[in-house]
């Protein structure tokens, strides 16, 4: 039985090691789970479940979250062939720009970068005149939870029935056939972070997905990416609930709402310490206590400078960390504070005016955050838009140009980090993606020109070493189910 298990799951060496190093308590847990399953399911299903369970060995703190034996990523890329991409100009994601550089990808990872000798057996792509960047990462997406076409039945991003809903998880709303996924892929997006909307003070868990086609959301989940929690400042929550004559209807009630939620979480954790056995499970408190234990990363929709400063004080009061402020239109007003406290700001290049809190936009916002406090800021360019995500390189280009025009010296190498390494850091996945380094996942984009030009397009997109989009191929990418026969029965959309 166990041999069969390893055979099915053998696509990853890492996985094999996990089997070896699993902790005894986990083994016991798996064994007892296994017995339950065997009684109920046929063999193949059992095996696939076991694969999931084995991956679960990487759980950081399984003691606290019994549910996390389920819902884990089932994404396992097939081993990829060796491909040598030669003669490219490379933006590494580490701040550097390399000329005439080769990258060898093999077995799902980046195997070498630099000057690499030709090997007769290795497939070669000549990328002379092309540019390579790490796969683009969009830290703010609602693809899947607000899919296209937008219908009442699939508008699943906001649980706008109560202002504090940490118990809901965006991944459980994801429609995996959203045609927006493939549009984003054509724009170079290899990883994206799907968040609940901003109707609520605390909106629920976000999920980091790889841009691969899978019927199950588990099959898209970025393996072992930490969970995130969406919070929202400002106008949206107080408008949604204030219009119903409910709390919050003011900024001050927003803040009281966050604080009360954290007080509840602290109480829950105290209770848990005293008597774990009698503790009634509470999904909301499991999420909030995950934040207070540092396992779940806060992604906080917050436009205004003064609001960000208040949110940082709330984090201080309850001893947690805000990982990133999103839609941070006024981040430039507090760029020094953000840099000092190591908080990222995810921003648009130029959106403004749709709300009062979005009135003070400046084109150089991203650059100012990046350059603040002796260039220690963490700036991210995000989309929040199925159109914008297809051109995130252009958004970064606009932000960089605005910074240069305002007198800041920002290289392409630096600016590409706004859509690669910095969002990877803020999602807790920078050990594996976000830059082109040996050993990292082979997620990369070959561009037909300077990625900071409006005229350049992604030509080839690799995810885990597999060519997922190829502009030069007739069969450029795998269509979503939605795309099949939707315009003409015998054709695919696009």
């Amino acid at each position: 039985m166990s041999l069969f298990l390893l055979h099915i799951c053998s696509t990853s060496k890492k996985l094999y090691l996990l089997v070896v190093y699993k902790e005894p308590t986990i083994v016991e847990r798996i064994r007892s789970e296994k017995m339950k399953i065997i009684n109920k399911f046929p063999l193949l299903l059992i095996v696939s479940f076991l694969c999931i369970l084995v991956i679960n060995c990487t759980n950081k703190d399984p003691e606290h979250e019994p549910q996390n034996q389920a819902y884990r990523s089932t994404y396992q890329p097939k081993p990829s062939e060796a491909i040598l991409i030669r003669n490219a100009r490379v933006l590494t994601g580490l701040g550097t720009e390399l000329e005439d550089t080769s990258i060898l990808i093999d077995n799902n990872t980046i195997a070498a970068i630099g000057e690499i000798p030709l090997d007769a057996g290795t497939k070669v792509i000549d990328a002379k005149g092309k540019w390579i960047t790490p796969g683009i990462i969009d830290i703010h997406s609602h693809m899947g939870v607000y899919p296209a076409p937008g219908l009442r039945s699939n508008s699943d991003g906001n649980e706008a029935t109560s202002p504090v809903t940490p118990h809901v998880w965006a991944e459980h709303s994801v429609w995996t056939h959203d045609p927006q996924f493939t549009l984003a892929l054509k724009g170079g997006i290899t990883t994206f972070h799907v968040l609940p909307g901003s109707a609520n003070l605390i909106g629920g868990r976000g999920v980091t997905l790889k841009n691969i086609r899978s019927v199950t959301v588990q099959g898209m989940k970025f393996p072992d990416a930490p969970y995130t929690l969406k919070m929202a400042c400002g106008e949206n929550p107080k408008r949604v609930y204030g219009n119903r004559n409910q709390e919050p209807s003011t900024q001050m009630a927003n803040v009281a709402g966050y604080r009360q939620a954290w007080i509840d979480a602290q109480n829950y954790m105290k209770k848990a310490e005293k008597s774990r056995d009698d503790l009634k499970r509470d999904l909301a408190m499991e999420t909030l206590s995950g934040v207070l234990r540092g396992e779940i990363l806060i992604q906080n929709h917050c436009y205004r400078g003064e609001e960000m400063a208040v949110m940082l004080d709330i984090a201080k009061e309850f001893d947690y960390k805000v990982t990133a402020f999103h839609h941070a239109i006024e981040a430039y007003k507090v760029a020094d504070i953000l840099a000092e406290q190591g908080v990222c700001a995810a921003m648009w290049a130029d959106w403004w005016g749709f709300k009062h809190e979005a009135f003070d936009m400046v084109w150089s916002n991203v650059a100012m955050v990046d350059q603040a406090e002796n260039k220690t800021g963490c700036a991210i360019v995000h989309s929040d838009s199925a159109v914008g995500t297809q051109h995130l390189n252009q958004e970064a280009a606009k932000a960089r140009a605005a910074g240069i025009r305002a007198g800041m010296n920002i290289s392409r190498g630096r600016a590409i980090q706004w859509i690669t390494l910095n969002p990877a850091k803020a999602l807790g996945i920078s050990e594996r993606v976000g830059s082109l380094e040996v050993g990292k996942m082979a997620d990369l984009v070959i561009w037909d020109g300077d990625p900071f030009s409006v005229f350049s397009k992604a030509e080839k997109v690799f995810i885990d070493g597999h060519l997922k989009f190829d502009a030069e191929s007739d069969n450029a990418f795998e269509r979503t189910d939605f795309d099949l026969g939707i315009i003409e029965p015998e054709e695919s959309r696009l």
């Binding site: 400046v362 199925a386 315009i487």
Partner: protein, 414 residues
């Protein structure tokens, strides 16, 4: 203000001579690459002479010693960009109803927004710093399927400047909504017929029992008559290919000149649109199949339409960032549209379709609405360095640049 202009000229250009601070009416721009958006296309190393608000000469080595001299070597001049479909001047903050004047609950076809335009709107200096010098301002919503009447405004921001063309097109929408699209067509036919009957017997008509004051006041019927008399075109916001075809057939039946707006599936009927000479206002980047009306949306809509011979007008869908039509045009070029056609879609085509005969191209005799760019105007990293409206150099300072400069200082990033 004038001090500012002089300072800007000195800081931006190496050569300033013959400047008279009190008189900026005559300007000679030298050594530029001029994208004319007209038949002469692109002129290298060319001078443009502006006098009394008009372009009076274009050529090599022009001499005008009494003019302000601007050296535009390595820079590019285009006609001022025209926003073909926006609510600039009617809206300050989208979600704040009291800052908006772009909709009505009292009128339908005849809703004119001329008296609402605010020349002091923050959107004006901001968008002209992005190269927009005039805008076709179109209300968002009126009664029934109507949006109302479009008017044209300059982006000079002067309190005493007025509408330059009033009520020049009527806008409606057609497609998925709360009521069947079949019913929407019936209502439109009924409205056309009603307007015709009204025209036949104006005085008696007011007495008729079937006069429907609900959706059509006399003002509205008068506006519809202007459409039926081909005095003004009808802008139809619609996306589905079959809906576009149906509107074409109604337009033919009633002799109405139409312009499509949105038109995400227009590429499917590109040949027919070309044959019928129907212009299309579109955002080339809007390739989302956002509803079952736009399933066939795609990135090369602009390219395919232009290739078939359709006149395209490129817009941004975001009024606050109307100038981003430039990015849309750049993306259209990335997907096949020739660069010169993209520039025309931001300028000349818009002027032509809306009858702005003195705007849209750089030709002798045209109004001097011009933009000097520090790089390819379609490139997202290029900026307008100088903007002229009616021959006057306009400030590129906006509330946004003021905020930027304040916080650059505070952060020590100057």
């Amino acid at each position: 203000m004038k001090n500012f202009i002089i300072t800007t000229i000195i800081s931006l250009f190496s050569l300033v001579s013959g400047a008279n601070a009190a008189d900026l009416e005559k300007v000679l721009i030298q050594n530029a690459t001029v994208i004319t958006a007209s038949d002469s296309q692109v002129l290298k190393n060319t001078d443009v002479l502006i006098e009394d608000g008009f372009i009076v000469a274009i050529g090599g080595n022009l001499v005008a010693n009494d003019a302000i001299q601007i050296d535009a070597s390595n820079q590019i001049i285009t006609p001022g960009l025209i926003a073909p479909h926006s609510q600039i001047g009617l809206m300050e903050i989208q979600l704040e109803r009291e800052t908006r004047d772009d909709s009505t609950k009292y009128f339908s076809a005849g809703f004119s927004i001329v008296n609402a335009f605010n020349p002091s709107s923050t959107l004006i200096p901001y968008n002209r710093s992005g190269g927009i010098t005039s805008a076709i301002v179109i209300p968002s919503a009126a009664k029934a399927n109507y949006s109302g009447l479009a008017s044209v405004f300059k982006m000079d921001g002067e309190l005493d400047s007025d509408v330059i063309l009033k009520d020049i097109a009527m806008a409606i929408s057609f497609g998925a909504g709360s009521d069947s699209r079949a019913s929407q067509i019936l209502l439109l036919e009924d409205a056309f017929n009603k307007a015709l009957r009204f025209n036949d017997s104006r005085e008696q008509y007011k007495q008729l029992a079937d006069f429907d004051y609900d959706d059509h006041t006399i003002r509205d019927l008068e506006a519809i008559l202007r459409v039926l008399n081909k005095e003004i075109p009808l802008i139809v916001r619609s996306n589905r290919a079959k809906d576009l075809l149906r509107m074409i057939s109604i337009a033919k039946q009633y002799g109405v000149k139409i312009i499509f707006h949105g038109a995400k599936e227009a590429w499917r009927i590109a040949d027919i649109l070309a044959e019928e000479d129907i212009p299309v206002i579109l955002d080339p980047m809007d390739n989302i199949p956002g509803s079952f009306d736009s399933i066939a949306a795609r990135m090369d809509n602009a390219y395919l339409l232009n290739k078939a011979g359709v006149k395209i007008l490129i817009t941004s869908q975001d009024t606050h960032n109307s100038y981003l039509s430039r990015q849309g045009a750049g993306n259209a070029v990335a997907h096949g549209l020739p660069e010169n056609e993209a520039i025309k879609a931001l300028t000349a085509n818009i002027a032509e379709v809306f009858g702005l005969s003195d705007l849209g191209t750089i030709d002798v005799g045209k109004t001097a609405d011009l933009v000097i760019w520090d790089g390819n105007p379609l490139e997202v990293s290029s900026f307008a360095t100088t903007v002229f409206i009616d021959g006057k150099q306009i400030s590129l300072v906006s509330r946004s640049t003021r905020l930027r400069d304040r916080y650059l200082r505070k952060l020590g990033l100057e």
